[in-house]
Symmetry: C2
Subunit: 470 residues, 2 copies
């Protein structure tokens, strides 16, 4: 076949999280080098154990013939083996009844309705919306279950972007799903720069400055993406920054895309959802959540949801926005059923009066405490590295230190590649996420086991201080 021209947008898109440095790490690993993969928020790849309760339920859903057997074993235990909790067994039966067709059938395009109802209750409960505030309640019809949160973000951007004159504001640094998808859809990425030295806070000037530049270039900005807690910086937005975004979106007719997948990864700040912050203001809001992060860390199960509030009115069709999203989800048939079930479990943790509660709670706290401890260990070691500063209340699964003293002629990519070659520590260069021109950073996921971290951090400190004095 003669050579062909392919989609330039795909050629141009970049995704550093799985870019050259992780690819080099894979080669080194094949050659026998010990690699510590901190390039991606993939907790179970680094030894985090899954929550027992989740897996108990998922196994019974996959294999309902185990339910009666496990019931019998609960009454007649075999010594030496742990039992599946009564709550997990009961809940599995209940879920199978509600699903009607088990895990093997396609569901509604948007996902099982009872799961979407459950998500709506979770959101209202999280945001203190009681039945007196009916207009603020989440609507299951506007919730879409997705294969991870990424799929929801992609659907929204695909719908909003019509050509290269359509712009989407994204924070710099950002999670490259957004830059890649904007590129893929043929739109224009409009950068805004949270203030690093003020713990990555936002204010009116930052946002308006970005919009003004876009307008000067005749870009029609349609939405602003906010990631909170942030990826890659790990910073938690304070309420003032959030309200600045809301007012800015309202004043400038923008939709908000709120990536809130790290809402349970908080070590010092408080999470305020955009749904709560937007309240009665009729700002189109797209919120994303997933089972991959938090203390659950079930990345491989690919469960996520998208919630839409105040869907925008459309001038080039009478079809409502939600129905267009429905069409896109129909072509995908449905998200995977295990991911759907896992989302249900995420929004329905065992209550204190069930026999699953104690273990669940212990595992949850232990994972979150451990993450905090590891973040602290790494942050402490920055103090021993010359010219390293790290800002923001710790959230998400990442630290994003700034490297102030790289030797001239080198950049953060060179630094991270050398760090990998020398210590086996695989992190991602700040330029993979975007950063203020002239600055250098790296993103490290604070996920490896404590002992491994303790052993590699001195090597990093040593590497760093040698590297910068080249």
């Amino acid at each position: 076949m003669k050579s062909i021209i392919v989609n330039q947008n795909v050629i141009d898109l970049e995704y550093a999280v799985r870019g050259p440095i992780p690819q080099r790490a894979a080669i080194l690993k094949q050659q026998g080098k010990k690699i510590i993969p901190c390039n991606i928020g993939n907790p179970q790849a680094l030894g985090q154990k899954p929550i027992t309760f989740y897996r108990d339920v998922l196994s019974l859903l996959e294999n309902p013939s185990l339910i009666n057997k496990e019931k019998y074993l609960l009454e007649n235990p075999i010594s030496g083996f742990s039992n599946i909790s009564n709550h997990a067994i009961d809940l599995s039966e209940k879920l199978l009844t509600k699903m009607e067709t088990g895990l093997g059938a396609y569901t509604d395009s948007k996902g099982h309705y009872f799961i979407r109802e459950s998500i709506a209750r979770f959101i209202d409960n999280r945001d203190d919306i009681d039945s007196s505030k009916m207009d603020l309640q989440s609507n299951p019809d506007n919730i879409f279950l997705t294969d991870g949160a990424s799929e929801g973000a992609k659907a929204i951007l695909e719908l909003l972007i019509t050509d290269k004159n359509d712009g989407i504001m994204i924070p710099i640094p950002q999670y490259p799903l957004y830059s890649a998808t904007i590129k893929r859809c043929g739109g224009t990425q409009i950068n805004y720069y949270p203030d690093e030295d003020s713990d990555w806070a936002l204010n009116k000037e930052i946002l308006e400055d970005s919009l003004k530049k876009a307008k000067a270039n005749k870009i029609n900005v349609k939405a602003i993406v906010v990631i909170n807690p942030a990826n890659p910086t790990g910073a938690i937005l304070d309420s003032d920054s959030i309200m600045q975004v809301v007012e800015f979106a309202e004043n400038n007719d923008l939709a908000i895309i709120a990536d809130e997948v790290y809402q349970e990864n908080l070590y010092g700040g408080k999470f305020i959802s955009f749904a709560k912050a937007v309240g009665y203001r009729k700002i189109p809001l797209f919120s994303l959540h997933s089972v991959s992060k938090g203390f659950y860390g079930e990345c491989g199960q690919r469960g996520g949801y998208l919630e839409v509030r105040y869907p925008p009115k459309i001038s080039n069709t009478d079809i409502p926005f939600i129905n267009l999203l429905f069409k896109l989800s129909s072509v995908n048939l449905c998200s995977n059923t295990v991911g759907q079930a896992m989302i249900y479990l995420m929004v329905n943790p065992p209550l204190a009066d069930t026999d699953a509660y104690d273990k669940f709670n212990l595992e949850k706290i232990s994972i979150l405490d451990d993450l905090y401890l590891k973040a602290t260990l790494i942050r402490e070691s920055f103090k021993e590295m010359q010219g390293v500063e790290c800002f923001g209340k710790i959230g998400a699964l990442y630290l994003f230190p700034r490297l102030n003293k790289l030797p001239s002629g080198t950049n953060d990519f060179d630094y991270c590649m050398s760090l990998l070659e020398e210590t086996g520590l695989c992190v991602v260069n700040g330029s993979g996420f975007g950063q203020k021109p002239g600055t250098h950073h790296l993103r490290i996921a604070f996920l490896p086991p404590k002992e491994l971290l303790k052993s590699v951090l001195p090597d990093w400190v040593d590497f760093h201080n040698r590297y910068i004095s080249q």
Copy 2:
């Protein structure tokens, strides 16, 4: 927010399988009407039981703590409860070792390497490629695990289509994933018409006629889609038709997109893969398969794969085609791990020397026999319907009868809607898949339980003969 303009391609795309008729069916169901959903190939939604072996393994992968307990129970059975086979237990342990990180972690973007290796061996074995034909062997590096087969088709079309002058040939009728995705990517759909009265066979004239018309409209045709066994017609392509496609693609510099998800649903014909038919000819070939159909019917688990052969050379970048696909899969992170495991099970059925074999084989044969019986029941009843003809060796999960005698002023959409209202039988109008102008069809998935079918078929015959004599 003021009203906005959204992506016209999404507004324009259509997906009848979940269109107005199934949506009406959902409303009727809510109102208490009994609906027999034959609009979609979703076997377990209609009572098909999952294969025990698959679910045994999947449950142990989700919950490895059950492995030792089930081993113990195999030695010390409890009367009244069935055991998980030794083979399922052994295999689960082996898979968990190979996965290293269980089901909870993101895998490589393309999916676990050992699963892709296993798929390659399955393909070679299916196509009688032994080690003497090394150049014909499948390459695991060119295999991508996906969330169902649809995701692979979408990635290929997204890469191939650059603008509305790029054309993709699709059979009419077709599975609307293709028309919808071509529309979504902004390309042009080029119809070709398999010869219904010759059991939907293909010949050179049919293909060249279609291409000539496209060229006259200045369309640059890049690929031809073939669905075999076909959806919606259920027809199985004979070897002559397949070779005609191969020669046509070779002579006209086209890639082939071979949707082969129904390769185990054969009731009278033989499956010949395009990989085998293409052989040493360097025709870019993209083959799709999935765990949703066959006798497995695990639609909800969303497992699929895309195999690429002879990837095309590209003139607008030095990046190889496979690496561009890799970039797209990286942005998705990975397909869901349960779907990946299920693909492994699909390509590694239990062998005769294992204790899982007998039950597995019995369940497999019983599902396939049952499908054939149900297809035959429906086909027989067409004989009692005036002016109904149905062509093609029976394959896939569908029959696609032609309705020759609709009352003037009515079409197949009207017919299917009335059929639904009157009998509860939910089928899809032929126009939802495309059909030769002036013809009318419907697609029925032959999935409902036999007894249910037997009870509704007379109602359908009755409805039909009344409807056409309006």
